[in-house]
Point group: C2
Chain length 278, copies 2
DNA sequence: TTGCTCCTCACGTCACGTGAGGTGGC
DNA sequence: TTGCTCCTCACGTCACGTGAGGTGGC
């Protein structure tokens, strides 16, 4: 019979651990003195202790190990649990690898640009949304602002007539990924709470869910180019691949009621493929 | 100005998180109503929130991120921290990989042997120890028991005469890794608290520290072969490589005072190379 | 009598999730 | 008046580490 100190030495675990295992019923001393509370162990319990430590090393929780002991489980169950654990650990590794890739990308970014990033880009999932949109080809960049206002006015007027309730947010979609100055294919829209009947100019549909890279721009409306540059440079550095159109989300409210174009908050989203990492 | 619910929606974080960040001083609402306690945020704070989330994703703790913000650190510091983090994450991955290898080895073991392991083998480090030993060639296996007793007697007698205090444990070293029946090179020893003067038969030295695979055998002295088989089969399965002699540690006390050879507790140790995993 | 070993609380860890119980504004 | 949003505690998480404060045996 060994006192807790001796057992802990031979077993290479702390006394506190043994007390803890006693407390949770994982490894009870073979005998406990009723007066002093002293715990007594036997050398036979070493085997049990080692089994516990082995399972712990494999990544099982003490609660699970306790169950294992109580149920003295079958070979098949154990094998299944191990396979399950294997998958878990593989996923864990995968997660860490992605984290590592992000760290490396940020390091590359620092080395390349010589400064801390001005924009934080991150990956997120956007759910489906019911939307009403109006899509037109805008002849030149110069007239863009007025043109867009007209389009939004038309859209809102129509929705009001049809008594279709708006929800958030308002947005714009750039169907060209590159920067162009003429004949810009522009789609403006707003989320709504139920679909209406489409016409020649106004469309109703479900804007599909996307897995996208997103960036928020706070500042002048005329500097949104910076955000877009940051967005695409980030996508590049992180070896993602962009697909589809750019969505511009008007977090500041409606473009029609924009009081100060020097202080707006927009979010840009562009769908990406993320099967790039290992 | 946004209420916490709106801000949490746009920022894609839970309200509880925002409250928590407020509490620890990481992201304070720009204004708090003194009467109602309502928190108010601005869209500008979205940028800050995203920076926080980005750093969190890289693996930094909220405490660290808070420091980053207060010190508004230099580019170099940030780069150093990122490099450091990179190493950390790599080590983390390494740890998980080893865990994965252990899980796989255990699965192979189950597939191969069709049963749960009877012995738990694990890797541990054993520190240096001062020892006194007696080493002789034992002619045959048959006379082994008496031969060993004689050797221990000689050893203990000598130590007693020299007044060298014993410490734990007693042990034996098998210098042959294979099983042989004749002319067995056998070294028996015990840990001591200070070195004495060696003679022709008795040696004093520091038994070197080793990184070893270890297994504990509880049961009959005549079945220690099972433990050794398990030990080497484990080493094999886990793709380690054994080096050096086998150490047999007498956890049950002294061989001279062994009352019941059917119930002994021994530990076997054999040094291994562990550079095998990636 | 003095160390040594053992004991039982009980707090702290990290980043929130999850109620409990209660209050202002449409 | 009824929902809705917001609020402040405060417990729970996981496996112990780390004191605090106190007790038997050589």
């Amino acid at each position: 019979m060994l006192k807790i100190g001796e057992f802990s030495q031979i077993g290479q675990v702390s006394i506190r651990m043994l007390r803890h295992y006693d407390e949770i019923g994982l490894l009870k001393p073979i005998q406990t003195d009723h007066f002093t509370g002293y715990r007594y162990y036997t050398l036979e319990q070493l085997t049990q202790l080692h089994r516990i430590l082995a399972l712990k090393d494999l990544g099982f929780s003490l609660e699970q190990i306790t169950e294992f002991q109580n149920q003295n489980l079958s070979l098949d169950t154990m094998r299944d649990l191990l396979y399950q654990k294997q998958v878990e650990v593989e996923q864990q590794i995968q997660t860490e690898r992605i984290r590592l890739a992000r760290i490396e990308a940020r390091l590359r970014q620092i080395e390349k640009e010589g400064q801390l990033p001005n924009y934080e880009v991150f990956i997120k999932s956007v759910p489906v949304q019911q939307v009403a949109t109006i899509r037109q080809t805008v002849p030149t960049v110069d007239g863009m602002k007025d043109y867009r206002c007209e389009m939004y006015k038309t859209l809102y007027q129509f929705l009001q007539n049809q008594r279709i309730p708006l929800s958030e947010p308002e947005f714009a979609i750039y169907h060209h990924l590159e920067y162009i100055e003429e004949n810009i294919d522009m789609e403006l829209g707003v989320a709504i709470s139920r679909l209406g009947t489409p016409t020649e100019t106004i469309g109703f549909y479900e804007l599909p869910a996307i897995h996208c890279a997103s960036v928020v721009h706070v500042g002048s409306f005329w500097e949104i180019g910076l955000a877009l540059t940051a967005l695409f440079s980030w996508i590049n550095l992180h070896k993602y691949q962009s697909i589809g159109a750019i969505r511009e989300i008007h977090l500041f409210g409606s473009e029609l009621k924009m009081h100060d174009p020097l202080n707006v908050t927009l979010e840009f989203q562009v769908a990406v493929l993320d099967s790039h990492i290992m």
